[in-house]
Symmetry: C2
Subunit: 637 residues, 2 copies
Amino acid sequence: MINQVFLDNAPLEQTKQNYLNKLADAGALCPKAEPVAVSAAVGRITDTAVRARISSPHYHASAMDGFAVRACDTFQASEATPLRLKLGIDAVVVDTGDPLPVGFDAVIRIEDVSFPAEELIEITLGAVPWQHVRVMGEDLVATEMVLPANHKIRPFDLGALFTAGLTEISVRAKPKVAILPTGTELVEPGTEPLERGDIIEFNSRMLGAMVEEIGGEAVRFPIVTDDYHLLKRTIAKAAAETDFVIVNAGSSAGREDFTAKVIGELGQVFAHGVAIKPGKPVILGMIEDKPVIGLPGYPGSAALTFELFAVPVLEAMLGTTKASEQVTATLTRKLVSPLGVDEFVRVKLGQVGERLMATPLARGAGLVTTLVQADGVIQVCRQSEGFHAGHPVNVELLRPLREILRTIVVIGSHDQALDILGDVLHSVHPNYYLSSAHVGSLGGLLALRRGEAHLAGIHLLDEQTGEYNLAYLAKLLPGIPVKLINLSYRSQGLMVRAGNPKCIRDLRDLTRPDLQFINRQAGSGTRLLLDQKLKQEGLNPDRIQGYAREEFTHMAVAVAVASGAADCGLGVLSAARALGLEFIPVAEERYDLCILQEYLNQPHVQALLAVLESAAFKQRVLALGGYDLRDCGRTMN
Amino acid sequence: MINQVFLDNAPLEQTKQNYLNKLADAGALCPKAEPVAVSAAVGRITDTAVRARISSPHYHASAMDGFAVRACDTFQASEATPLRLKLGIDAVVVDTGDPLPVGFDAVIRIEDVSFPAEELIEITLGAVPWQHVRVMGEDLVATEMVLPANHKIRPFDLGALFTAGLTEISVRAKPKVAILPTGTELVEPGTEPLERGDIIEFNSRMLGAMVEEIGGEAVRFPIVTDDYHLLKRTIAKAAAETDFVIVNAGSSAGREDFTAKVIGELGQVFAHGVAIKPGKPVILGMIEDKPVIGLPGYPGSAALTFELFAVPVLEAMLGTTKASEQVTATLTRKLVSPLGVDEFVRVKLGQVGERLMATPLARGAGLVTTLVQADGVIQVCRQSEGFHAGHPVNVELLRPLREILRTIVVIGSHDQALDILGDVLHSVHPNYYLSSAHVGSLGGLLALRRGEAHLAGIHLLDEQTGEYNLAYLAKLLPGIPVKLINLSYRSQGLMVRAGNPKCIRDLRDLTRPDLQFINRQAGSGTRLLLDQKLKQEGLNPDRIQGYAREEFTHMAVAVAVASGAADCGLGVLSAARALGLEFIPVAEERYDLCILQEYLNQPHVQALLAVLESAAFKQRVLALGGYDLRDCGRTMN
């Protein structure tokens, strides 16, 4: 019953090059051409150099509104000896673009002429031959090259093509790419109700959009269940009907992963398994002369292996290469990576001071939000065990650098009001972005100290003074000028499942043996609050079951409670409300934004502070519940 | 009969801001929303923040192929005390993505298990709670923000949207933009035969593609002839049916330019004429609450005024801003610009050594090739009379910088083989580009000396030695290491109209009083060749009519002859052939590429040299006629 398959672990470049060579040898990568109407050519790629069929202008044209003349007639005109020309005989009215009458070779502008009498004009300056004339072929000469081969057509190019007398040109045919989602667990988006185990099928849509972005035509096949014969029939059909087949997934070695076997039976498998992370189980094959790639099922793995293996195939078929943009950035955190595999880690980027900072995102291949949030990708090669914080790394950009440079980097405690702040900022200023990383309040202050963020979101209660935040600034950022601006006061409390099935009343219940608690990470403001309250109540943390299990956000704690993984946790009201949990208030706490003084006058930071005072922002935060904005926007230090 | 209208000459920023304010006050710029299926959402812009409808995963899911267990059952397992678990009772087979059975809280990977007997598995290491489990909400929690407002949707975002349980989202409606080409002289592309004075209508297609690139929907109206009532009816219809009307052209003050009058009658004209170059006669108006803009007819003017005035209107309707990318570059030539107008000059860019060099392109507003060739735009503000060569200028990029950095900059003499060289280079290496500016051979060497180009194309005959190029290197580039590589030998000769109607036999005919000659510019190799040959023949240039009229390329000379503007000129066989001219050979000359040694080992230059030796390149050059490639690729110094 258990079918253990050992996948190859071949190095990346060699496997990829070998695959592309095999495909090229089989003639599977030759660009094909097709004619396309110029009017529909934007975004297409020229197959050969395009040459002008006619010249532009195709006749000597007036370049001004005025009068065509024979220059030799006008030489003697001067202020002292004005010259009169008879309309229709010595001078002919022309508008811009009109052809010069035969024998005429210059144009005098209407502004340079007076009208002494009907049918007469007077000039005081002779015309130079060909003045204000667009001579035939000035712009383009027939047979001249209008566009080179391999050129992606832009709106401006349409003008040149039409004016060169072309209405149809030869472009690269769009490779037809079949995308086959496979797996009995997959359901179409919109399926109701969702059962446990149902997985909404979205990879095929994501991959299809990636295919079209590169210039291919995506042909999405219906979901194929885990039925060996059905899969085989479908792959054979796809290979017959399209230029390139992508099977997703069934590429690993689980019970129902037939893909490699089927491709091997219908054609050849050149590689099954590559030493990369994520995406190891990728299958590289060919049926007849059609490339067939099996991508792993996790979205992170599917996206990466598509980029690494399917994009070069598509680009070869289109005869193009997408030039990737690389930058050097400084790692904000230590990044550990296994030896022996090329690991690809997505990062968030932000310009803080002179440095571009890269923060690694969560690495689960199943996380699709990581794909959404990423600004770039780092490759940690197989000879490396990773990098220390502060290490310079090479980042391939996934987002234009100019956007990244306009991003405010917030590191610190998570708060939903911060998401709303970012959303409103970007709505009001489409050029500005807010990026927030959640490492807790102390982590945020440490990031500020290392110059890795513009500002930190903090809610740090000082045990001695009972005051928020100020004591920590003195301790952690001595001598570093910062401005502390209040975001909100918010309720922290115990979140429990609806109906409070375990009858939890207050913190003292946490030590009950029948309760499973879920904690926040050390360094978070919520954890400090909990520890202080436990101390006040004389409760021993060692007696709380689950005290050692840490989550990084209020939402993660709420999820743990909602899903039954824990019975209660400490968090904000908005998180409890979002998941329909009950909320037992414990304390009100102050949440401030700590901004490095040196960035205070930057336009995007100023814009952020203005948003903080706006009604649009405040209304949305108050609607969350559990927030008091009495000091919102006020300087606290 | 002559209707002189004086256009406004208001400054740019003030006019533009005033117009946008008027439109905003009238409510003409409010973004509208519409629902769209997630599957069709790529490229659309979110109207509001998008929140997750369900969590992802929406159940506790196995993250591996293996066995679900209860962690507490497994604590005692070790190498010394292996633990057996009964399948179906203590351990349940799960594949990646399968739901954990109720009560189970960890997964053991298939690799970490042995199979001692049917229905039994054995483990030697206990499971930690929640290991290899994707807990509910790990990726996205219901109600969490998936995408902010004002976000342009990318392929990756589809994954997050579908997995968050969404199948439809609210996006900005595409503004419908009417584009009305006007002018009796306009004919549709493909019209045969073209008469003198016919202008192929292409602006509407170019502008339409620009509208769609920004995210609008272009509605192209049929050509409107210069009929006042027809124009009025059509503009009224367009304003009623769409969100934004663009009339092109009829915006200047020529005889048949009714547009401003019509817009004024149907609504209001806020400005007619702005102090910019090109594009001065632009009309900014409104009919009801619909923006109506009259763009000038020249493609360069239409494109610029569209960018300056129509793009901000469209962006306001979509709630976005296209962040423009600016770089600083060094001017390669003096740029003179009139005081009192903001002039926009398109440039070619190239990285040579450490510097980015900007070469102004020809400034005729009628030139559509300038739009095609431009890498960027310089704004010379109205207080400035321009810049000297070597001056740093701010350039707004029209092409990605990474492409520009991979461009080989050739300045010098024009040759069609050079176009083919660039075309083949880019076909073989889609990442590399060749940009050539035609300033003649001497100009090319001077550009090399100033560090403005990687290489120059030259054919410079030395009078003393009768040799090509070497003497000039010693004279003009003393001490600068260069490599001289032959491109071709080519025939130079007199080009005359088919049938040689003026019976020209050789250079001695040039002094005939009935002949009009057309010359090449001083510093060009062809000019040097002519002057040397005239000297040999004892002919006085002063006696040649047209000797003073200079063109910058072989093709321009050929056009002058073909169109009857001149009777003959000196040039290469390929130019003559291209326009069906007769060719009277005068000499064979050597055309070399002079490459600065310091760039010789750059990969794009090496790629270029490899192309020079390729059969693909040679075949295409030989097909032009008049070329001898016996030394092509050979080092000549």
